[in-house]
Structures are given as structure tokens and as C-alpha cells.
Symmetry: C2
Subunit: 158 residues, 2 copies
């Protein structure tokens, strides 16, 4: 689905159900927040977006434990889920959404290649995540990560 | 100056001087963080970006006082400066940059029209701000606010 259509559908559903959202972005670096705040009136459902690039930011702002990062790495299913849950609980909102991955062009390894992303959705009933590997430039990967996260959000609120 | 050139110059200077930056965005909604994280290797100088759309987010994450927001409004020189200083100190980095404004199309008043933005730069020696009024669509205003903030940053670190 086209990004703009997805965004408009998400906005309508959040407004209709009176749900507030907060976002924790690592790999997407603010792209999700930027897309959401392009929607006029988004301040009615978007509470905050945290671009937690450093591990310190993840620990301080999202209450992701240092041990979890050391054990699994910042780019992992476990950290993605802790980020989505952390941003939801700390922001006192209904939904948390997160991304952690490797946009590239550097920072990849055999086990965790450039293009790898974990995205996570959290509400009061569940926290789920998805692992995807894309093959693109840094900017293409950021776009793909963002679209995947917004689709995960849409699937879980529609 | 072209946005990409400004960004590359900012990245070079921050890396060369070994300075870390954190950003607090209201009106730009993540656009500055997104532009900065488009630069490969930005994790070496970009610590975090906080898209503090709600007043609660400004109070909780940036230590902006509730009284200050009530007295001057969230879109004010005083709050812009408190945001830049707050994000710098709370993130334990060298430089804080902030934006607060009215991107539109709604939310404007005679005194504070759509297109109004306050941008602020803070380092250990000073905190300064600038008030500008642009005339554009929501997306054009976000772009203009972002470029103005990046220029303010560049002028103060070059």
C-alpha cells in the first residue's frame, strides 16, 4: 500500500479509536516521526518520537536494560520489543512502535548484515516483532524500514 | 546554502571537533533528526533526537517547566531556549538544538501565525535563539524551519 494512504488510514483509526502513539526509532532515525507529523492534526494522536541512536539513549529514555543490549546486541528482536514496550509505558500512551536495524553502508556483519531490521509493536495486550532483511542503499533501507513499521502498526490497529 | 552541503559541513565539523549533539524537535517533527541520520556515520556525533510534540513530552524529557509553557506558550523564545538547553544537559552532550513553531495549516493566531518558528542553539557557553516567520504549506514550513535550525547550528560551530 502507498505510504500516504497507509498514513492517512492510520491517522483515521487512531483518531476514531482515540488512541495515542509514541515511537522509538533507531534505524529509521526520525523518518517515521517525520512522516507522521506531515499529517495535519497529528498532534491529536502522536505524543512523542524518540530517536534513540546511542545505547545510552535507549537505556535512559526507553528503560531498555544494559544487560539486554550486551547479551543480544542493540539490533535484535529482544531490544526492538523492549524499545516498543518502553516507549509506550514511559510515555503513558496506548501504542508503542519501534525500529532497530542496520541502514548501512557500514556496520554490517555476516550474522547481522546491512539491511537487517527488527520492528516492534506494543499495546497493553501484546508486544510483537518482525525481522526483515532489505537490500538497498542507506536511504532506501531507511524508507523500507519505515514502511514496514507503519504496515505492522496498521495491521495491528485496523 | 544547499541542505546537503550544510549537513556535510556540519558533520565534518562535529567529527573534527569531537562534539556530540542532541536535538529537540516540536515543529519539525523529526525532519532534522531524519536529515542528520541520512548521513552515513552520523551515529558518531548524533546521540539522540526527541520529537516532543505534546507538552508532557517537553516537560518530562526536556525538563521544560510547566509554568514556563503556561506563561509564554509552547511556541515561544523562552520554551525554545529551555528545550535546547534541556536536551543538551539531559543527554549529556556538547550541543543542543531545538525548534518550536506552528507548521499549520491550523493552530495559528493573530499573535502567533502559521509559519512562526523559534529555533534555539545551546552549548556550555551560551544559549541563543531566533524567531522567524515563513509563509508556506505545512510541509514547506517544516522544511524551512529545519533549514533555519541547521543554519543556526552551522553558524555557531563553524
Amino acid at each position: 500500500m502507498d505510504l500516504k494512504i497507509t498514513l492517512n488510514k492510520i491517522a483515521s483509526i487512531l483518531l476514531e479509536k482515540n488512541l495515542k502513539i509514541a515511537i522509538a526509532e533507531s534505524a529509521t532515525g526520525g523518518l517515521i516521526a517525520n512522516n507522521i507529523t506531515n499529517i495535519p492534526g497529528s498532534s491529536n494522536f502522536f505524543d512523542r518520537g524518540l530517536v534513540t541512536y546511542s545505547n545510552n539513549a535507549k537505556i535512559e529514555l526507553l528503560t531498555v536494560s544494559k544487560d539486554l543490549i550486551e547479551k543480544h546486541g542493540a539490533v535484535s528482536k529482544e531490544v526492538a520489543e523492549a524499545m516498543a514496550e518502553g516507549v509506550r509505558i514511559n510515555s503513558n500512551v496506548d501504542i508503542g512502535l519501534s525500529t532497530t536495524g542496520i541502514a548501512g553502508p557500514t556496520g554490517g556483519s555476516k550474522e547481522k548484515p546491512v539491511g537487517l531490521v527488527f520492528i516492534s509493536y506494543s499495546d497493553k495486550d501484546k508486544t510483537i516483532s518482525k525481522k526483515i532483511i532489505f537490500k538497498g542503499s542507506r536511504l532506501e533501507n531507511k524508507e523500507s524500514f519505515c514502511n514496514a513499521a507503519l504496515n505492522l502498526l496498521f495491521e495491528n490497529i485496523k
